[in-house]
Amino acid sequence: MDGFVVQFVNGLKTTVLLALVSGSLGMALGLLAAAGRLSRWRAVSAGIGFYTTIIRGVPELIIILLIYFGGTVAISAFFGRYVEVNAFLAGVVSLTVVFGAYTAEIFRGAVLSIPAGQIEAARSLGLHPWQTWLLVILPQMLRIALPALANQWISLVKETSLISIVGLTDIMRVAAIGAGSLRAPLTFYLAASALYLALTSLALVIFNLLERRFAVPGR
């Protein structure tokens, strides 16, 4: 059992790292996608609408398997010999793609809820469009999007457990190995649950602090 404490610590690190990297990349992708979705160019907007609809409509597990096996096939073909995709990398790519699709819709909704008059006021002063984004849209959009983003981050932390299916040694995989080798499934899965619960609780606390930080004074 003692050996598994170390393994759980390593698994926890992997889970946290995977969540942070794919969450950050996913939010950046989501912001870009939201901007594109709101763009005047109809082809861009339609293309991104296609992306978010498809990704949100397919189970995450299938997306992970498709990217893992599809990635392996593509890279093997490129090098002319069998190359297996790194499980962590496959996890980052698939969770980023998924997280980007969900957050894109959250950001888009948040931007649309900012009164058009505020943007007109910025334009009437002669502000450049990117100045308008930084001054008026972004700060208010983040505030509006925070509650939905908190939900999405919690889902992300839990979805990282799916990457264990392609062999990533995260909390979930450590629990599965321990449960099998020591024949104590309940102990190991309860331990894993406690770790995930601790992570999601921490995420909630952080988002509560952020909501307070971004609150409109006087509301």
Binding site: P115, E120, A121, L125, G126
Partner: protein, 262 residues
Amino acid sequence: MLREPAADHGIRAERIQKRLGGNDVLRGVDLTVRPGEILSILGSSGSGKSTLLQCLNLLTVPDRGDIWVHGEKLAIRAISQQGGQARILDHRQVRRVRASMGMVFQSFNLWPHKTALENVTEGPVLVKGIRRNAAADLGRHYLAKVGLSDKADAYPRHLSGGQQQRVAIARALAMEPRVLLFDEPTSALDPELVGEVLRVMAALAGEGRTMVIVTHEMAFAREVSTRAAFMHRGLIEEESPPQEFFSSPVSSRLRGFLASHR
């Protein structure tokens, strides 16, 4: 960019057309605003007055027609036969022109996450590159001018509608614009708050500023304007100095309009 301090030619709009939502909102309007002039634009709702005002700084791009601001012709492409939208060709020019025309909106449009002072100073800082502390002095000066020295650190939500609109006026003034555009500045205000905003506007008019005011405040327009225009169905039906405009209107529609707004 340095420019010659050329004579201020005011604003000239010719044959402005705009179609919105299947309606011909503007049907070939001509409008001149001379420097130092205070022009009131009156008319029923839907007559196109606000759209015309928004065309002057291209917040709305007219489908057809030409606009000159301070002697400079705005580069816009007219709507095409194939259905291509009218659009701005020179965004840099338009930003420069907008910065020289302060606009005050019906619904104030202050940024709720910024204090009154920040609302006033962001324009000078971001558009004119004025340093933050110099801009703060400028902002306090214009907040004082609209009687809100003590509200610099207040957020819009803590201000009454009249106070918010005065902050919005200070925000426009802080850009030190050559023209002020008012789009029904008192229409969203409770009646008891209209007076404080009109008093600020009257004081500005007394400074010889160039102002274009879309309004329903007949008494104010009569008292303050140097010229009044009446719009009806996307055209200017009548324009004249206020004495003639209000006392001996020519058009029967204007007579009817004035009678119904007494």
